[in-house]
């Protein structure tokens, strides 16, 4: 009895989605709903207990180490915490060049490409290349993170809350840099955030998560104009807005999410849902199409039309 398992958390449960080449898929949900776990699952940094992961037609989970190493060049991750994500003992050009060295590029070439890329993300390599992460600001570090993720010329970039640790003004700069880079390099983004304003700004399609499950999925416009799931409606209603007519007096949902170790039966949102019905507790609602490229997991849409009032308050 040397080791103990306290409890298992189903951080991500029954989540399926496709990312199309060239799009930006936004993933939104409150803290602790499994967004970061999902990001690490997508990149196979943690192994899922079950499920499939396919990249460009290839089964990623079945890839043996040499093949996996090749695949990793095509998918990279930008982390949330600009402080913990850079090695304090490496200069930033070495931090960026490390990935190239891993893939067998000669040292001089790796350094040259790292410096060129640092320049592209707005950090003059002649001023910053030999600096250490702790000498840079949060926004500058996040630029280094982006350069590191791009240095292998990936096709897919998973961005795990890339701007949430930054000041508002720096957020905008970094977001615009990300949009420019996406256009320039024909990248595909999976953009994870808890900030609906950011998600709306960058995404073409949006996936809303609650407690490890997808509750709604659709194009950014469809979700913004007619959010269907009570949780999505609440999220939109609680997003800060500049429009005085859209401001609300009461928070649309209150309380904390339930304990993910022991989630509610059936629909996981029912404990905080204003529209909960008795049979919500029986089984989790399946994702059901409610429009073109718009699906929702809620029993409210089984037959009857949607209550569209909650968001428009």
């Amino acid at each position: 009895m040397l080791q103990r398992t306290y409890a298992w958390v189903r951080a991500v449960d029954d989540v399926s989605f496709d990312v199309h080449p060239g799009e930006t898929l936004g993933i939104v949900g409150e803290s602790g709903c499994g967004k970061s776990t999902l990001a690490r699952l997508v990149l196979r940094l943690i192994e899922p207990d079950a499920g499939t992961l396919t990249f460009a037609g290839e089964d990623v989970r079945a890839a043996r180490p040499p093949r996996m190493k090749r695949l990793r060049r095509d998918m990279q991750l930008v982390f949330q915490d600009p402080y913990a994500s850079l090695n304090p003992r490496l200069t930033i050009e070495d931090a960026v060049a490390f990935s190239l060295l891993v893939h067998g590029r000669p040292r001089a070439e790796a350094r040259e490409r790292a410096r060129a890329l640092l320049g592209r993300v707005g950090l003059d390599p002649r001023l910053y290349g030999r600096r250490y992460a702790h000498e840079l600001s949060g926004g500058q570090r996040q630029r280094v993170n982006i350069a590191r993720a791009l240095v292998l010329d990936p096709k897919l970039l998973v961005l795990d809350e890339p701007v949430s640790a930054l000041d508002k003004s720096v957020q905008a700069q970094v977001l615009n840099l990300l949009l420019e880079l996406k256009r320039e390099r024909a990248l595909t983004y999976v953009f994870i955030s808890h900030d609906l304003n950011v998600i709306e700004y960058v995404s073409s399609r949006v996936l809303v998560m609650y407690l490890g499950e997808v509750v709604e999925m659709g194009t950014a416009e469809a979700l913004a104009q007619s959010p269907r799931h009570p949780y999505t409606q609440a999220l939109f209603a609680s997003a800060p807005t500049m429009d005085p007519d859209r401001r609300m007096d009461r928070p649309p949902i209150t309380g904390d999410p339930p304990n993910p170790i022991d989630p509610p039966s059936g629909c996981r949102f029912r404990t905080r849902c204003a529209f909960a019905m008795p049979h919500c507790a029986d089984a989790p609602p399946p994702l059901r199409a409610v429009g073109p490229d718009h699906a929702v997991a809620c029993y409210l849409y089984e037959a009857t039309p949607a209550p569209t009032t909650a968001a428009g308050r």
């Binding site: 040397l2 080791q3 690490r40 990149l43 940094l45 180490p65 996996m68 190493k69 090749r70 990793r72 060049r73 998918m75 990279q76 991750l77 982390f79 949330q80 915490d81 913990a84 994500s85 850079l86 090695n87 304090p88 003992r89 490496l90 200069t91 931090a95 490390f98 990935s99 060295l101 891993v102 893939h103 707005g122 003059d124 002649r126 001023l127 910053y128 290349g129 030999r130 600096r131 250490y132 702790h134 000498e135 993170n145 590191r148 993720a149 292998l152």
Partner: protein, 311 residues
């Protein structure tokens, strides 16, 4: 820079402060800030206490190394007529011990033994402990549990008791003292190494390195070791003085170096009966132990401060 507030200019100001002046300035010469180790050296060079401690240590080490040439007498040759001569006695600057042996010679020769007994176990523990700790921390799982629980068994005993028990079982003599003290210090280093490794392993730059497709080797070499060796080294340096005191203690108890060889702890033991005859001479080996261990402690404090990463 925290150091700038204390006085003097920080390395930032000294080299690359201009880099923050703005991105729009025309490209000038490349700015090369100080490397990490240069910064550490720069800070050490400005820390008087640490420099003084280091200076004292250099003197002690030199005197021990050069003992065969520096010592005026044979450290084991006594004289019945000259027992317990006071400090300043003609021909014997630091007096003589209870068998009439020259104290200066014995202190110089004794320093060799004491330093070897203080440093060797820590160096052995540093190498073995860091390897085991990093392994346990990085691999984790069953391997980690086995390593750590084994270390806990040793850790459960107070250091002195464990050293006495192992030395008692192995018998007296310097090699056995070194073995028993190494066993005392390995679990301590393993603990520090393991906790530092677990902490660093969870950081996102390790995940980023894994996402780049890197194998375990380069990750451990470039990302892990560089960030855990500092704290391990600093911890080990704090243990040198303890190791010296334990070694001296074992000799004092008759479990370490055997007479007539000179060793500070042993000298303290044999001279203690003479303390009412001549109080100063018996205090000398104690003073030597105190000064040396103090110097090691101050040095490791300074090292810790200098190696800290400051934003």
């Amino acid at each position: 820079m925290a150091i700038g507030a204390v006085g003097g200019v920080g390395p930032e100001e000294a080299t690359g402060r201009l880099a923050h002046a703005g991105d729009s300035r025309p490209p000038g010469p490349e700015i090369v800030p100080m490397s990490y180790w240069r910064t550490v050296r720069w800070r050490l060079a400005r820390d008087r206490t640490t420099l003084l401690a280091a200076g004292v240590l250099v003197l002690i080490v030199l005197s021990a190394v050069l003992a065969p040439w520096l010592a005026p007498y044979d450290p084991t040759a006594g004289s019945i007529r000259l027992r317990l001569a006071p400090v300043g006695a003609p021909g014997h600057v630091l007096g003589t011990d209870e068998q009439g042996r020259d104290m200066l010679s014995r202190l110089l020769w004794g320093g060799r033994m004491t330093l070897v007994a203080g440093l060797t176990p820590v160096v052995v523990a540093l190498v073995v402990g860091a390897a085991l700790g990093v392994l346990a921390g990085y691999v984790g799982g069953l391997t980690g549990t086995l390593v750590m629980r084994t270390m806990d068994i040793f850790y459960a005993f107070p250091a002195v008791l464990l050293a006495i028990a192992i030395s008692g079982a192995l018998g007296p003599g310097l090699p056995n003292t070194l073995i028993s003290l190494s066993i005392v210090f390995i679990p301590r280093v393993v603990r520090v190494a393991e906790s530092a490794t677990v902490q660093v392993k969870g950081l996102e730059y390790i995940a980023a390195a894994r996402a780049s497709g890197s194998g375990v080797g380069p990750i451990v070499r470039h990302h892990l070791l560089a960030n855990v060796l500092g704290p391990i080294l600093v911890f080990a340096s704090t243990q040198v003085s303890l190791s010296m005191i334990l070694a001296a203690g074992l000799s004092f108890l008759g479990l370490g170096v055997t007479p007539p060889a000179a060793e500070w702890g042993l000298m303290l033991n044999t001279l203690r009966q003479s303390i009412y005859v001549n109080a100063i001479v018996p205090a000398l080996p104690g003073l030597a132990i105190f000064v040396t261990s103090m110097a090691f402690n101050l040095l490791s404090d300074g090292l810790r401060d200098a190696m800290e990463i400051r934003a």
